[in-house]
């Protein structure tokens, strides 16, 4: 009996001294989230005009997103152009986590056929492989499409490289200032003018389907709000009331337009029903209320008001017209845009004695972060995937569009234009 007791005691002891082979569990609760090293190998195939730049366009797209760090072409250890030539070991010595290879050839009907493949060096697997055919004048679209696919596969969020940016370019011609409304690719390339005027153009904005734009034009010497269909250039004047007509913003369902009108006295926010042209007044305050933007759920608008004594951002509940102040830091906060997920607002911010910079505020915790360092930054507009925003900035006599990641960790510049570039608006995803 006692022996048995001892035995069990010893057993107990042993189990304490040497625990069973419990498997080691390592919990990772943080990450670095650095830009991901990626190698884009110059595409092979026929060196058709322009098409040999496909890899360069993809490289620039991914780099501009701030999420990728593409290798310089001259650092590539090898240059495979198809999966058949891909040897993972050749990439082990580089820091590239992913490799993109591809080729371009022109088809009998003078189109381009682009093949590309994406490989994970770490997992030694092919993640993407696709063949696309594009019209000869659309090869840039083909490259942006590839960037979108790569981005989404690795980053888990839809790429916004096939989108466009709308902006106003103010330029001088024969000593006179002129204004044009332009559209460019999201990389600033292929600018296209859809309106050219001797009078100012302001506040351009997109329809939610990306087919139309709205803006304020002074072409009749006083402000009026127009809509314009991009494909046909067809225009429609929707607001030319007495006084100010400004700051159009389409509702997410495309049926209503928020506007700033001063027809009843001082500038107030109105919502126009696009079908009936009927107006609903949303604010009623003796101070200036302007620059309304719809929240993605269509339930509220953010707008700028100086009702506190200086410009600040407020949120207006569309249903009951109640107003809540959102910004409290700095003595100037204006021109807000809301991120596509509704979580952030970006706006022009100024601290006392400082210059105008772009700030982003997280509406979940109301933490505000200044994300640009250049003076006179204006008009932030979120990319449709919400990861970055475009804003206007200035460099001498050149106007530039800047791209910044929402966390401010990354900034890029789009090609400069002579004159000023103002009020950029990033398009929604385009079909």
């Amino acid at each position: 009996m006692p022996r048995l007791f001892i035995a069990s005691l010893i057993a107990l002891f042993t189990s304490f001294a040497a625990p069973a082979h419990a498997e080691l569990v390592i919990e990772i609760t943080r990450g670095a989230d650095d830009a991901i090293p990626v190698a884009i190998v110059p595409f092979g195939g026929l060196a058709v005009e322009g098409a040999d730049n496909t890899a360069e366009i993809i490289r620039a797209d991914l780099e501009r997103s701030g999420r990728f760090k593409p290798m310089a072409f001259d650092k590539l250890p090898v240059r495979p152009t198809s999966g058949g030539d891909m040897l993972y070991n050749e990439w082990k010595g580089t820091n590239a986590n992913y490799v993109v290879v591809g080729s371009v050839r022109s088809t009998a009907d003078k189109r381009y056929e682009i093949r590309y493949e994406l490989f994970s060096v770490d997992r030694q697997t092919r993640l993407l492989g696709e063949k696309i055919t594009v019209a000869a004048d659309k090869w840039r679209d083909g490259a942006h499409h590839i960037s979108d696919k790569i981005f989404e596969k690795i980053i888990g969020v839809k790429g916004a490289f096939s989108t466009r940016i709308l902006y106003v370019n103010q330029y001088a011609q024969s000593g006179k200032l002129r204004y044009r409304l332009e559209l460019s690719d999201a990389d600033g390339q292929r600018p296209l003018s859809i309106l050219d005027s001797s009078e100012p153009i302001l506040s351009p904005t997109w329809s939610p389907d990306g087919q139309k734009v709205a803006y304020v034009s002074f072409e009749n010497k006083r402000p009026a709000v127009y809509t314009q269909t991009i494909a046909t250039r067809e225009r429609k004047k929707i607001a030319s009331f007495s006084g100010l007509n400004g700051a159009p913003s389409w509702s997410p369902d495309g049926r209503r337009m928020a506007l700033t009108l001063s027809r009843d006295g001082n500038p107030e926010i109105y919502v126009m029903d696009m079908a009936s042209q009927e107006l609903t007044r949303m604010t009623n305050h003796f101070s200036i209320d302007t620059e309304a933007r719809w929240a993605p759920d269509g339930q509220s608008l953010v707008f700028t008001s100086d009702r506190s004594g200086n410009a600040q951002i407020y949120r207006l509940n569309v249903a009951d017209k109640s107003v809540k102040r959102l910004t409290f830091e700095g003595n100037f906060n204006a021109r807000a845009d809301i991120s596509p997920d509704g979580r952030y607002i970006a706006f022009v911010h100024r601290e006392k004695g400082q210059q105008f910079q772009i700030a982003v505020q997280d509406l979940q915790n109301n933490v505000m972060t200044v994300i640009t360092q250049t003076p006179l930054d204006e008009s932030p507009s979120f990319a449709p995937n919400g990861i970055s925003l475009v804003y206007a900035t200035r460099k001498g006599k050149y106007g530039e569009l800047g791209i910044a990641s929402v966390d401010g960790r990354f900034q890029a510049r789009l090609p400069a234009r002579l004159g000023e570039v103002r009020e950029p608006a990033w398009s929604p995803f385009l079909k």
């Binding site: 001892i6 080691l24 390592i26 919990e27 990772i28 609760t29 943080r30 670095a32 690795i154 888990g156």
Partner: protein
């Protein structure tokens, strides 16, 4: 008489050893007083010296022991010595075992310290390699089981629990693969015990 004493002493020794096991450090002192206290009790001579049978039995005990050898046979004396030696040997044996056991225990503790150190080193190596997709959210969990070769090379990665987000799962696997070779202990025993197979739980809390 002798067999009786012997069996009584043996029982006592067993009892003593019984006590000794759970309390490793206390074991040596206990068996020594045990036979001394009990042995006199079996001797019939005791009451003669002191007629008072009341309480002070215990303080009186040492005295009779010294006197008795003179009166009795050396046979008994030898028996006692043998017993004492045996008891002592057993105690020494137990002590030896206890030392071995405590050495084992301290070795286990040392191994655990090594394990904890490398566990944290691995964590430190993987964190900066983890570039999470924008689809990552707090609360997502991907669990991977990794087999590791001596030297730390990651031989195999199996996703045993998916987060439901393929980009998130992929980022976790790539973080581990990119961290290869993992920092692992040189000590083969420790490596085999803890590091041949490692479970990684990717569970962001800072997003």
């Amino acid at each position: 008489m002798n067999p009786m004493i012997r069996s009584a002493a043996a029982t006592l020794a067993v009892m003593a050893s019984l006590h000794a096991v759970p309390a490793l450090a206390d074991s040596p002192p206990k068996p020594v007083p045990a036979p001394k206290t009990e042995v006199p009790k079996t001797l019939p001579v005791k009451p003669v010296t002191k007629p008072e049978p009341a309480k002070p039995v215990t303080p009186a005990l040492p005295t009779p022991i010294i006197k008795k050898p003179v009166l009795n046979t050396s046979d008994f004396d030898a028996e006692m010595k043998a017993l004492e030696k045996q008891t002592r040997d057993e105690a020494q044996d137990r002590e030896q075992k206890a030392i071995e056991k405590s050495m084992q225990a301290s070795r286990a503790t040392a191994n655990q310290a090594i394990r904890d150190k490398y566990q944290s080193l691995i964590n430190q190596r993987v964190v900066p390699k983890w570039n999470r997709p924008l689809s990552a959210r707090n609360g997502m969990v991907t669990t991977l089981r990794i087999s590791v070769l001596p030297g730390g090379e990651v031989a195999n990665v199996v996703t045993i629990k998916s987060s439901g987000d393929s980009a998130f799962d992929a980022s976790a696997e790539e973080a581990v693969r990119r961290s290869s070779p993992l920092p692992v202990p040189d000590d083969v025993a420790v490596f085999n015990q803890y590091f041949r197979v490692i479970t990684f739980k990717f569970n962001p809390e800072d997003l």
